[in-house]
Amino acid sequence: MEKLIQLTLSGVANGAIFGLVALGFVLIYKSSDVINFAQGEFLLIGAYLTYMTVQQIGLWWPLGVVVAVLLAAAVGVLIEQLILRPLIGEPAISVIMVTIGLSSLLRAIVGAIWGVTPRAAPQFLPRETVTILGASVGVDKLWAIALALILFALLTLFFRRSSEGIAMRAVADDQQAALSMGISVKRVWAVAWAIAAVTAAVGGILLMSIFGGVSGQIARVGLLVFPVVILGGLDSIPGAILGGLIIGLLQSYAGGYLPPELGMGEVMPFIILLLILLIRPYGLFGQTIIERV
């Protein structure tokens, strides 16, 4: 029982972070049909920028996090303007490859600046443990869950209430119609990349404080985005959040209950991915594409 609660909570914490990262991914896909392979590197950038502002420059940590997140958003917008904009109308493989090239470039830049050796992260989430139903759980995991939930709520409000958010939904629904209603699609794309960079950066910062360190390993989470979004549906925001939670939980249980030398936690999400693709390719909430000649 104790193990179950521990595994569940750490699964939910990881899952909430996966959901955050996947949300940015889905946002980019919905508004511009781009599959972003560099999402994992956005996590890396968020984590290292926070390391820079808090540890190396020495800002008060809430201020440092805000500065890092804003910088990450600027990087997102810059990438959209410089690299994705020229590729509008190119085939899918070109767009995939450009984001792959981007991920390699970003990793190289981060590596050249901060090196490859893992560094101790600045401590800003409390690290003590509390006892819930007889199981001791790290407070930082609870904090991660709470922060992710707050961010989800803010984003939901943004999409429902703000005119910018409504414009984004309009573009996702029908680009032509949105254009004819006077919505600037270019602006929406820039906002989508900024939000994707921000959610990924927050995910990276949370992972950094859960791991207690920052290293290139954080970018591995970028690959886990794919099982999450396929499970939830490539173009569904609630799907991304729910998919994140399910994958996080399954990974946690598989890693905790199956023999550890198998390392099932790593491969489990991809086995699920392949199964979903075979049974229900459009995921839980994804829109079924009907093709006509």
Binding site: A92, V98, G111, F226, G263, F270, L277, V293
Partner: protein, 350 residues
């Protein structure tokens, strides 16, 4: 100046290289390939062998991605299947290379066809993500392959590297050069002719418009599986050659970065072109080598450059992909064609 192409018989219409400049160029290339190993030292022979193996795998990947239009991000996994099946046959059963390499290639073709099954229902981006899963699952199996008897890595004895019982002794780089270039030439001839057959034309039809292809009687599922199998066959061939050439293999050589490297080769070289895959393999293999030579040359004046070398190589890799896609999406093949057109049409270049 030539004003057009006029064939007067079927033989010239069907020829792979109908024009005399092409024939001169191919003779030059053959002479270069034959003469190269007699003058090159081990460093350059090693580079040439690496390029040869990469070119075989890139041509194979191009069958799937460039000609059939099915994106695969799992080719590193298929190379691993080829390498480890050849390695296991050689290390456990002491089979010689001339048996293990074809067997491993055929086995990889089968594995590739299995992972091609999702293509029955999936297209485009969804299929790309499915192949990504295939990659991760294959590497996980090899990484936890206690059942297969693989530890951290697999070592092959040099006794198995013989061709029809003739052992390859002395300078292995030199002897492998002929094996690898021979395989590459056979691959090039096979693939160039593949797209003049029924199956090859079906592949191209699927790429251009799958529904239209189905309407004119191309069985999509069969031909997609065939494309996966053919493509994986060459991945397996490249993997098996790597295993015998290096003599020691571990799963770390075949991670997703390898899959991405091969995709980058065919993108930069030119999608849907055999020569493009070779140009891409040359470019992508020489780029890090040139950078490391540059770093060595500059290390006297800028001593800290060596610690930045891995990041320079990684960054140059990413930057090359981005710049090619933005400025020349059709790759080196198109650039080479532009150069030829400039001289062919000179001085009236429009």
């Amino acid at each position: 100046m030539q004003s057009g192409t006029f064939h007067t018989n079927y033989a010239s219409d069907m020829a792979l290289r109908p024009y005399w400049p092409q024939r001169i160029r191919i003779v030059l290339v053959i002479v270069l390939v034959l003469a190269f190993p007699w003058f090159a030292d081990r460093y350059w022979l090693n580079l040439a062998n690496t390029i040869g193996i990469a070119a075989i795998a890139a041509i194979g990947l191009n069958i799937l991605v460039g000609y059939t239009g099915q994106i695969s991000i799992g080719h590193g996994g298929f190379l691993a299947v080829g390498a480890f099946s050849a390695g296991l046959l050689a290390a456990r059963l002491n089979m010689p290379m001339w048996i293990t390499v074809p067997v491993a290639s055929l086995f990889t073709a089968g594995v590739g066809a299995i992972f091609g099954l999702p293509s029955a229902r999936l297209k485009g981006l969804y299929l790309a993500i499915a192949t990504l899963a295939a990659q991760e699952i294959i590497i996980w199996v090899l990484n936890h392959g206690k059942l297969l008897g693989i530890g951290e890595s697999l070592a092959l004895s040099r006794e198995t590297t013989n061709i029809f019982g003739i052992p390859m002794i002395g300078n292995t780089d030199f002897s492998f050069y002929w094996v690898i270039m021979g395989s590459l030439v056979l691959t090039v001839i096979f693939v160039s002719n593949l797209f003049r057959t029924r199956a090859g034309r079906a592949f191209v039809a699927i790429r251009d418009q799958d529904i239209a292809a189905q309407v004119i009687g191309v069985d999509l599922f069969t031909y997609k599986l065939l494309a996966f199998a053919t493509s994986s066959f060459f991945a397996g061939l490249a993997g098996a050659l790597t295993a015998h050439y290096r003599g020691i293999i571990s799963w770390e050589r075949f991670t997703i970065d390898t899959s991405i490297l091969y995709l980058a080769m065919i993108i930069i070289g030119g999608l849907g072109s055999v020569s493009g895959a070779i140009y891409g393999a040359i470019f992508m293999t020489l780029l890090p080598a040139i950078l490391s030579n540059l770093a060595r040359a500059l290390s006297g004046t800028v001593p800290q450059i060596n610690s930045y070398l891995p990041f320079m190589q990684q960054g140059a890799f990413g930057l090359a992909i981005i710049l090619f896609l933005i400025f020349e999406p059709e790759g080196i093949v198109k650039m080479w064609r532009n150069v030829k057109d400039y001289f062919r049409l000179w001085p009236f270049s429009y």
